[in-house]
Amino acid sequence: MDPARKRTVRLVVALSAAVLLAVALAYTSFSASSEATTPAKLASAARPGESYQLTGRVQKGSYDRRGSVHEFRVTERAGGTASVPVRYEGSVPDPFREGREVIVTVRKGADGTFVGEEGSLITKCPSKFTKSDT
């Protein structure tokens, strides 16, 4: 094979590999992802057994802890009445507080409570760049 053709072949092979990788990425990302939802959406449209990434705020007065089982309600980030109960087992991150914004991957449990996946609870570092209200 003359050099020019060799180069074309190489280029085609490389591009195909890149396309394959991209397709694999795209496919698995859609299947492995969890849908990001808010309390309102979750309360109405949650399918049992599927995992969702819930973003919201810990409702004040809703936090209860029994040992390492934490139970709280998550409301909308911007306020509002919709809220969902979440049960989380394990240790919560340092900044966890009522009123703080959290992200947690949950699954709808049999009793209507959403069970949090271990290690998936993230609490947003409070207002580093916005007006602090703690």
């Binding site: 050099p3 490389a14 969890s34 849908e35 939802t37 802890r65 040992g67 240790s91 992200i103 570092c125």
Partner: protein, 726 residues
């Protein structure tokens, strides 16, 4: 004072705008004086932003609570070091830091190239000043650090306790230095493309800046990881969080760029690729800066103040559009001088290295922005978690490590199989031996980690072999003894051996990551004093609880509840660890004085025993919920008891109450939740990082008496020329 600050910023903006115009006009009309004037505008920008920064620092250090920024990020009780660094914990302060660093590096770059690259420099100046003007405009009109409060509060809010750690305060300046330093090669690339002068001169001028940027950015990322591991209560160092990823992206493309410019230097290849890479890196730096403060992605770090969203997105769109336009319109000037001769050559390995690095960047980019992509495509926001990232980055990282071992050993242009066999015999043996050893130790269930160990051995062997052969070659030429041969070898070939050192460091780093991820033992247990739990090969016994009140300058800084843990291995006491949780009082006056402590911030003080082979990491979460009834009773009792007392007396009673409360925790605590992790070889990560950083410094260090060597070399070439003709 604040007005002076505002004036400085406005003046900086004006100077920057003037400089842009002067540079562009000077470039068009060939008037050197205008270009020089533009360069001085950069110097002036540096001076002005330095002034503004100093003013801001002074306000912090002097507790000027009339300044809004000081009142909301510092307090009279904040330690001096953190007052100094609190400046950039704020949105406005961090923007000022960014533009200040940009102006410093730009001044340095323009000073060093003041007599070179005459046709490229004006455009580079304009680009750099363009960035400066953008940030100055933000500071002047949108996020001014110099706003004054109508009524100065008596004390500030204070710095978030989570940030009170040295690493955390050095982390932003490091990262920003990395980002802003990448602006220099970016700007010079724009200039070079604009003038169709993409050649060796351009590379030589900007290579150092790209390397320095890479080094600082990498250090910043590692500091963040270290802080996360040693200070936060989750025990990990990387979470594939969008903001972490945003800083990693330009680092990955920057690494690719550092390698591919070598290829352009040597063989005039990959010009389009290089130009695109450095433009992409610069864009990613701006994107990274933007992501942290945008709130468009859900992240633990995302501090959304979306007033900046629109300007930043506009800037990024302009940069991307402009970059693409430049590269496409200049592609005739970017034609390669040579082609790939053989797949078995260093050039091919470099190309493969670039492909893998860009592949890694693409994976990280895709995963990070997936929520937005998914929303655009399906209307639903979906996100992917760490397992997805790991699935793709681990194999790519393995390939990268392999390439970093093959690249230095294989020859340029074309390598023969015979030569390759000779060169790779030892390293392959080392890798194979390690693989066999891993199998022998039963480590193969974690295939990825085992392969990484073998590859790291391979890389280490190649680096060792290179040094050995290099020393041999040097001694053959100069007859020096081994140690001095080694020194002079490295001195005369800094880039090469600095690079090899970096490869070694990264391999060690990857080994640390592999081992600590694959072979980690983790447990979460609830223990009462006297109880034990086992994790890994260790037995951890909760001996007793600790409770302490930490006094600050004026009042109580925090209450620490913790534990004394005895860590034993095979019955022998290894270490006593004292993890703690510090509870900082909230300033919410509606809460009772005792309750305030448990509604404010809490930080973890990790109990860590770091060893060469493994780390024992412990964190405690006292059950404050169980304490709640006691707290409420105490608060109610306190309110009643202190009716009618003076403030001083109240403070006294409160002190007593707190002391009793804390003492009670010491004697009879409710069971606490412990997180116990045994991670092997975490120290290897930090050691590998240090090796890589020193390698980068070696490569960066300017060669001594380069001029003299150039002259000698020129003479030698002339001799050769004459010989050739004769």
């Amino acid at each position: 004072m604040p007005t002076l600050g505002r004036a400085l910023i406005l003046l900086a903006l004006a100077v920057a705008l003037y400089g842009i115009v002067a540079a562009l006009v000077g470039a068009r009309t060939g008037r050197r004086d205008l270009v020089d004037s533009a360069r001085r505008a950069v110097y002036a920008l540096a001076a002005l932003t330095t002034g503004a920064f100093v003013l801001l620092e002074l306000a912090f250090l002097r507790d000027d609570f009339g300044w809004e920024i000081v009142a909301s990020h510092s307090s009279s009780t904040t330690p001096l070091f953190y007052k100094f660094t609190a400046v950039w914990s704020s949105q406005e302060g961090s923007l000022l830091l960014w533009v200040w660093l940009l102006s410093l590096w730009s001044s340095l770059a323009l000073f060093l190239t003041r007599r070179r690259l005459r046709d490229v420099v004006p455009y580079a100046t304009a680009v750099l000043l363009g960035f400066g003007a953008f940030f100055a405009a933000l500071l002047a009109f949108l996020e001014s650090p110099f706003t004054v409060l109508a009524a100065a509060p008596s004390d500030g809010v204070g710095l978030n306790p989570l940030l009170r750690h040295p690493s955390m305060m050095i982390h932003p300046p490091m990262l920003y230095s990395g980002y802003t330093l990448f602006a220099v090669p970016f700007a010079f690339a724009v200039g070079a493309l604009a003038r169709r002068r993409v050649d060796a001169d351009w590379i030589a001028a900007t290579r150092r800046f790209a390397l320095a940027a890479w080094l600082l950015l990498g250090t910043g990322i590692l500091l963040g990881a270290r802080w996360s591991y040693a200070e936060l209560g989750w025990g990990g160092y990387w979470a594939w969080d969008p903001v972490e990823n945003a800083s990693l992206l330009p680092w990955l493309t920057g690494t690719a760029f550092l390698h591919s410019i070598m290829l352009q230097e040597k063989r005039g290849m990959l010009k389009v690729w290089n130009a695109s890479l450095i433009l992409a890196t610069g864009t990613l730096c701006v994107l990274g800066t933007f992501l942290v403060r945008s709130g468009i992605l859900d992240s633990i770090h995302a501090f959304g103040a979306s007033t900046l969203g629109v300007p930043f997105v506009t800037l990024i769109a302009v940069i991307i559009a402009g970059s693409i336009a430049l590269v496409v319109s200049r592609r005739d000037a970017l034609r390669s001088e040579h082609r790939l001769d053989s797949m078995l050559s260093r050039e091919a390995v470099f190309v493969a290295n670039n492909v893998v690095l860009v592949g890694l960047a693409f994976v990280v980019f895709w995963g990070t922005f997936f929520p937005l992509i998914a929303e655009a495509l399906t209307g639903e926001r979906k996100s992917v978690g760490p397992p997805w990232f790991d699935r793709y980055t681990v194999p790519l990282a393995l390939v990268l490590t392999l390439l970093s071992g093959v690249g230095p050993v294989i020859a340029w242009r074309r390598a023969t199989w015979r030569n390759a066999r000779r060169a790779f015999a030892l390293p392959v043996a080392a890798g194979a031996a390690t693989a066999v050893a891993c199998a022998g130790f039963g480590l193969t269930e974690h295939a990825g980690a085992a392969i990484m160990f073998a590859l790291a051995a391979f890389v280490a062997a190649t680096v060792g072999q290179e040094l050995w052969r290099g020393v041999g070659a040097r001694r053959a030429m100069s007859g020096e003894a081994v140690p001095s041969a080694l020194v002079s070898l490295v001195r005369r070939n800094r880039r090469r051996y600095g690079g090899y050192t970096v490869h070694l460091g990264i391999a060690v780093l990857f080994v640390g990551i592999a081992a600590s991820s694959a072979f980690q033992d983790e447990r979460e247990v609830r223990l009462s004093p006297g109880q034990s739990a086992s994790v890994g090969a260790y037995d951890v016994r909760y001996v007793r609880s600790t409770g302490e009140i930490s006094l600050g300058d004026a009042w109580i800084e925090k209450i620490d509840f913790g534990a004394v843990l005895e860590v034993r291995r095979d019955g022998r006491l290894v270490e006593t660890l004292r993890p703690e949780r510090g509870f900082y009082p909230s300033r919410d006056q509606r809460l009772g004085p005792l309750g305030q402590f448990f509604e404010g911030e809490a930080t973890s003080e990790v109990g860590l025993k770091a060893g060469f082979w493994r780390d024992v990491w412990t964190a405690v979460q006292p059950d404050t919920q169980a304490l709640q009834p006691i707290v409420e009773r105490a608060d109610a009792g306190f309110a009643k008891a202190t009716e009618g007392l003076t403030a001083e007396q109240r403070a006294g009673v409160l002190g007593l109450t707190l002391n009793q409360f804390v003492a009670r925790y010491r004697e009879d605590p409710p069971p606490a939740t412990f997180r116990l992790i045994v991670s092997p070889m975490v120290a290897w990560m930090w050691i590998g990082a240090l090796i890589a950083i020193s390698g980068g410094l070696i490569a960066l260090w300017p060669a001594p008496d380069a001029a003299r060597r150039r002259a000698t070399a020129r003479a030698a070439a002339r001799v050769a020329q004459d010989l050739g003709r004769a």
